[in-house]
């Protein structure tokens, strides 16, 4: 133990600040590899897509508010319905956890950056470009209209002419690169970049949840990429993978889609539970009960989620044995989910929680998600599923799961970490108003849809006849959607107002347990001047009042603060026990991630337009960016 410094000040960190600061202006903006800037960017982009997806949902609910309504025609309705689902799952929900993971994982494990900073920048640019690519379809008028699942053969060129579905298939494939490299980055970061002392059994639960999510991404994503590629080959190159007339099979598409699609639900649920564990622990000021059991539950959920995909296909007429197996496996997920719910309930019952906005959203999450989980158990029962699948009951179920189980935790996380990210507390009351609007709006919108499904209303219909008994529930649901929208607008207003106006935030406004609260709000560019020393799961709670967390600024006589020679230095440790610390030199800002992403965008445009020149240029730019990847900043 040498050079134990409680905290570094001013002149001592001047060199670190200089080395880690991005270049000023637009050049710095385009070349940055800082995980915090990239995380914030991910957040703003994903949140924008949330608002766009929400606007689409409002139009859908307006159309369905009354029977035989002709606000939207069938074509416009199908386009908005497709883009609403695609946007919410692929462009909002999944990337939103990349935002949280990017910003928080390095801070929570006591690292200076992600393991592959340039890969991180690349994954953001691809996300942005693929989102813009899919939305460019609105400019051409050929908007994807095959549903977010785009089942073949409806999406084959025979039944879907025009380029709408090409935007979808190419966009999804393109976006998959972003998600995959993001997953790789999280895994390596979490396995190797943890500060000394943070062994596996001391990792914050949020970090565990991101690790599980990243592992799932790695195994699930190839399947949907394959579905997208084969669909595009069928569409653009006349192949017959899904065409029964040419020896193909439409069910193959469904298998490929759901082998990814079901784990995807857990890819956006597991990190949400990580957020909830952090929020509840801080708001109750107690460690989560049964840490090891919660970790086991996270990992078990991840595993089991790969054995469930066929429950999306119970109505396709599966053999008895197969259906019973997948039914039992689907029911099994209730166990790890129940373990987490009861771990939180037990923790909350150990001390009176404080009802700040993050806690309100955490409570809203428990109530809403439990309903969604229970209806999930119901649809795992084959005969009930065969009766109710593809009806509004299922729409209600997965909105309870996704809004309750994923969006509410995201909002809890937003209100929880906002002070850390911006250095500002949020306004005192707007958040509570937003919570009640969203909580009540959510129940009023989606609870009646359970009943609509039970009384026979199928999903994805643009209109319905008067007198079928669906009028009242649809009207209530649409009114609820208005309240829900108001809630999200309030959150948006709160984010903006607080950013400009609110009180400066201290390092640790909540008295929380993990390392990100040991540094300033917002954190310095280099995160930690030296590596923090971790001796338990709750490093911040081990400190005496007034004490600050100790950091180590030297490794084997080499300084992490002085004489950096213009390099980004970071520390790596062993996988399991986070020992044997070593200094590594990290990549610096560069244009190549941006150029590589742009080259891939050109290739996507070329595939869509079948333009050889654009393909050639895009290919060259991609190859050149790869070649220069390791080079300097410009």
């Amino acid at each position: 133990m040498t050079a134990l410094e409680p905290r570094l000040h001013g002149a001592e960190t001047a060199e670190l600040e200089r080395v880690w600061r991005d270049r000023p202006g637009i050049a710095g903006w385009l070349t940055t590899v800082d995980h915090k800037r990239i995380g914030k960017r991910y957040f703003v982009t994903a949140f924008t897509f949330l608002l766009i997806g929400g606007l689409e949902a409002m139009l859908l609910r307006a159309q369905l508010a009354s029977p035989e309504n002709d606000l939207l025609g069938p074509d416009r309705y199908n386009q908005l319905m497709t883009m609403h689902g695609t946007t919410m799952i692929l462009l909002f929900n999944t990337p939103m956890f990349a935002a949280f993971g990017n910003y928080l994982v390095p801070l929570q494990i006591g690292a200076r950056d992600m393991a592959f900073p340039r890969l991180n920048a690349l994954s953001y640019w691809i996300f942005l470009f693929s989102g813009l690519f899919m939305y460019a379809s609105f400019l051409t008028g050929a908007v994807p209209n095959g549903g977010w699942f785009s089942y073949a053969p409806l999406t084959a060129s025979e039944f879907s002419q025009g380029h709408g579905l090409d935007f979808w298939a190419i966009g999804v494939t393109f976006l998959g690169i972003s998600t995959t490299v993001g997953g790789v980055n999280f895994i390596v970061t979490i396995l190797r970049m943890r500060t000394p002392g943070m062994s596996f059994n001391r990792m914050p639960l949020f970090v565990w949840s991101i690790l599980t999510m990243a592992m799932m991404i790695l195994f699930a994503l190839p399947s949907v990429t394959l579905a997208g590629v084969l669909l595009e080959l069928d569409r653009s190159f006349g192949m017959h993978f899904f065409d029964p007339g040419g020896g193909g099979d439409p069910l193959l598409y469904q298998h490929l889609f759901w082998i990814w699609g079901h784990p995807e639900v857990y890819i956006v649920f597991i990190p949400a539970t990580g957020i909830i564990s952090m929020v509840i622990a801080a708001m109750v000021r107690r460690p989560i009960v049964g840490y090891s059991l919660v970790v086991a539950a996270l990992v078990a959920t991840g595993f089991i989620s790969f054995g469930l995909w066929l429950h999306h296909m119970f109505a396709t007429g599966l053999p008895f044995l197969v259906a019973s197996f997948f039914s039992a496996a689907s029911l099994l997920v209730a166990i790890p989910s129940g373990m987490q719910i009861f771990a939180w309930l037990a923790t909350m019952n150990e001390a009176r929680p404080r009802f700040d906005t993050p806690m309100l959203f955490a409570i809203g999450f428990i109530v809403t998600f439990v309903i969604g989980g229970i209806t999930g158990v119901m649809v795992a029962v084959v005969p009930w599923d065969q009766a109710i699948t593809d009806s509004y009951f299922v729409v209600a179920h997965f909105h309870y799961v996704l809004i309750g189980g994923s969006v509410m935790p995201i909002l809890a996380g937003v209100y929880f970490w906002y002070p850390k990210v911006t250095g500002r507390m949020m306004t005192r009351h707007l958040g509570k108003v937003a919570f009640w609007l969203i909580f009540v709006g959510m129940q009023v919108t989606f609870f009646p849809q359970h009943i609509l499904g039970i009384v026979g209303m199928p999903r994805r219909i643009y209109t319905y006849h008067r007198g079928l008994g669906w009028d009242l529930m649809n009207r209530i649901s649409s009114i609820g959607a208005g309240v829900l929208a108001l809630g999200f607008l309030t959150v948006t207003a709160d984010l903006v107002v607080s950013w400009r106006r609110a009180q400066p935030a201290p390092n640790d406004p909540w008295g929380a347990e993990t390392l990100e609260w040991s540094i300033s709000s917002p954190p310095p560019d280099y995160n930690f001047a030296g590596y923090p020393l971790v001796g338990s799961r709750q490093p911040m709670w081990d400190l005496e009042p007034g004490e600050t967390l100790a950091t180590e600024t030297e490794v084997g006589g080499e300084s992490l603060v002085h004489d950096q020679g213009g390099h980004h230095h970071a520390w790596v440790t062993s996988v399991l026990d986070a020992e044997a610390v070593e200094i590594v030199t990290m990549p610096t800002p560069a244009y190549w991630p941006l150029f590589l992403a742009f080259g891939l965008l050109m290739l996507s445009v070329a595939t869509l337009s079948q333009n050889v020149v654009v393909a050639l240029l895009g290919g060259l730019l991609t190859a050149y960016s790869f070649y220069r990847w390791h080079g300097g900043a410009s």
């Binding site: 439409p250 373990m339 019952n349 309903i371 005969p383 009930w384």
Partner: protein, 330 residues
Amino acid sequence: MRLRLARSRTTLVRAGLTIALASVLAGCDEAHSVFHPRTTEARRVAFLGWLMIGIATAVFLLVLALLVRSFFGPPLRRRSAGGTSWIASGGIALPTTVVILLSGLTVWAMNDTRTGGGIEISAIGHQYWWEIRYPGTAAVTGNEFHIPVGRSVHLSITSTDVIHSLWVPELGPKRDMIPGHTTELTWHADEPGTFRGQCAEFCGLQHAEMALIVVADPPEVFDRWLATQAADASAPSTAVAQRGEQVFTTEPCAACHTVRGSVATGTVGPDLTHFGSRATLGAGVLSNNAEHVASWIANAQSFKPGSLMPPIDLSADEVRDLTAYLEGLR
């Protein structure tokens, strides 16, 4: 201030209860509800549904109680064991019990219900209508068909274009109609009635307007109905209808539609041999009467944009004759 808050909370609770109550009432009242079962198969579904709603309510209330306890109750002391008994009982034992119970019931409810001596029906999905055949007979119909009460009804299900799904909530589980595959479904209707269904798998522009009617008849009524449907269309008896047949077979109609017993043998659209006996046209878009038939022929696209039925350019007289012919096909 506090008082007002409390009052608004009571109002909120009351509003919530009202909505919940209204929902339940609307659910019970509804004709084509999963909870209005009219076959053996549908009864199993409804039984499972009610049972699971009961379990669900109990589990939800338990969680809610523990949540409320954390707000107001005395803090639990963490025991040396690690305070994991809640996870063991609520998180492991409780769901495990439910899972075992429901798995058993699932296997029971999935048991094949098919019995001998039943009737075979073949259902074929099209964008956006239903073709129904009775193998072994000449009967072919569209968008409306009959089944016998008290006999096993066995459906073989497929599609000629995209994936559709056959769903009549009161008759039980749905089944996807997949091109290149044949799936199966069995119904045992236990009382007569008319049941409405609708396509449940997104199948394109007019997925919303693909309804179907199933009529359960007493066996002898059903046998009569099937015999009628199997027969060719009787020759039109009035002069108007005879002119109508002329229009039908010379104009584009016959290219897409069949009327058995006439020269019209098209197979793109529904078989119209006994069109006049059906309650709706366009797979439930309009009720079947002369006025609707006339406007449907003139421009089906204004009622069902995206359907394969093109606008037909006929004179007013031709439309009147054609309508009379079609309405006479009983």
